[in-house]
Structures are given as C-alpha cells and as structure tokens.
C-alpha cells in the first residue's frame, strides 16, 4: 500500500479522534459554577461590582500554553484606597485557579502581568479585593486555537 504524508496525517488524526471518542472527555473540565464558587470565597460573600479593574488578554490566543494576561486596578495604593489581592480565574481549565497577586503599599501601582495556560476557548476572570472589602470584577473571552494542558 502506498501512503503519502498527507494520507498518513489524515489517518492518524482519525485514529486520535476515535480514541478520544472511546474514552470520553478525559479531563474533567471546570465549569462556570466552579469559578463562581471561587469568586464567592475570594469576595467573602460580597457581590463583585464592575469597573476599576481592567483585564487585558489577547482576543485570540494561538498557543494556549503561553497566554499573556495583565491586570490593572485604578487605585492610589495609599491609605484606604488600596488593592489587597487580585485573583485570576480561567472558567474552562481543569482547575479554574490561575494565580493570586498580593499587593502592598510598596507596590506603588496595582498592575501585574504574567503568562498562563488555557485549555480551550473560555472566559478569563479577574477579581480584585480592596482593603475596604469592596470587590471588583472584569471578564474577557479568549479564543484558543491550540489548548495548553498537554492532555
């Protein structure tokens, strides 16, 4: 039998698809309720308001292994106007937690950037908790071309 490269690729892709079909969805992905639960814990029962916090992430991430994500909170970072922590969540990952940043008066500005993994197209959420207990939230959808959980 004569198989060229393209046919081989199609065959293996077919096999891979059949494989996942047989096993079913292997990793149990977290869903929106799991992320909502984490937000409620982080917020200490308060309903998050919109505004103040800005989440920056690409609209389309080609590689889910390294997706740049930045958060910025409008705050003087002095006295009562202080950001304590910012939590980043990814609704569609096997585990919604991504990272929690902790700021102090020495931070000067409540801004941070890092890189995260995303398993699939999903909403990314950033929640900020201020020193006075108020909570702010921002959400952004990121389309992922290749998932980054190595499954």
């Amino acid at each position: 039998m004569n198989i060229n490269r393209r046919q081989l690729f199609l065959l293996s892709a077919g096999a891979a698809l059949a494989g996942t079909g047989a096993i079913g969805v292997a990793p149990a992905y977290a869903d929106a309720p799991a992320a909502d639960k984490r937000i409620a814990e982080f917020a200490g029962g308060k309903a998050p308001a919109t505004g103040k916090i800005t989440l920056t992430a690409p609209e389309i991430a080609e590689n889910g292994n390294t997706v740049p994500v930045a958060v910025k909170v409008d705050s003087a970072m002095e006295g009562d106007d202080m950001v304590e922590s910012v939590m980043i969540l990814a609704e569609g990952n096997p585990n919604p937690d991504v990272a929690t940043f902790h700021f102090t008066a020495m931070s000067g500005a409540a801004e941070a950037t890092t890189r995260m993994r995303l398993a699939k197209t999903q909403n990314v959420i950033a929640v900020a908790r201020m020193a006075d207990g108020s909570v702010y939230m921002d959400r952004k959808e990121v389309k992922v071309t290749i998932g980054g959980c190595g499954g």
């Binding site: 102090t104 950037t113 993994r117």
Partner: protein, 108 residues
C-alpha cells in the same frame, strides 16, 4: 531538570518616590499534573507555587501560582522606591527548593 535559573530586570537608578517596573523570569517546566507520559500514567505535579518580592526586607509583591501558570513563569509588576536598597526575589518550588535572586537600586 536543570536547576532553575532566575533572571530579574530592575532599573539601576530611580528618583525617590518613583514607581519602577520590575520584570522577572525563571526557567522552570511547571509540570501541571495534567499531562500523561507515554504509558498513560499521570506525570506528578511539580510547579513553583509562590513568588515574592521584598525591598529592604519589606514585602512589595507576591503571587500564589497554580498549575495554570505557563512554563518559565514571568512576572511584571511595580515597586515604589523611596530609598536606595536591595530587592530580594524568592521562588518556592513544590519539591521544597527555594530559588533566590537580588538586585540593587540607587535612589537619588
């Protein structure tokens, strides 16, 4: 795995009260605990789970990391400097290792 190598970028000098941008990177594979080896066994999680930055012994910024942080974790954040001194950076690995780096800044 090679020993993780931290790299930090801190401006050499700043004016008193200025907010400076700090960038850090450390080489680490951040094994998520989700991947499987070729025998189908789950590769155990091994990540750096905590990063912290101090200036002259006072906390500036810290981060709790989960497996969803990419390999070679990168951070960019700010610090307000009022005096000359030293930044100290620490990364805590799941395996108990702690990696540190330092950088000095001259404040005029």
């Amino acid at each position: 795995m090679a020993t993780p190598k931290p790299r930090v970028k801190v401006p050499k000098s700043a004016k008193a009260g200025e907010t400076v941008v700090i960038k850090t990177l450390i080489s680490h594979q951040m094994e998520s605990g989700q991947r499987k080896d070729k025998d189908g066994k789950v590769i155990p999680r091994e990540i750096i789970h905590k990063f912290a930055c101090e200036f002259n012994g006072k906390p500036v910024f810290s981060c709790d990391m989960e497996p969803a942080i990419s390999a070679n974790p990168y951070f960019e954040f700010n610090a307000k400097v009022n005096e000359s001194g030293k930044f100290k950076f620490t990364w805590e690995d799941d395996n108990g290792s702690v990696y540190t780096d330092e950088a000095a800044i001259e404040v005029s």
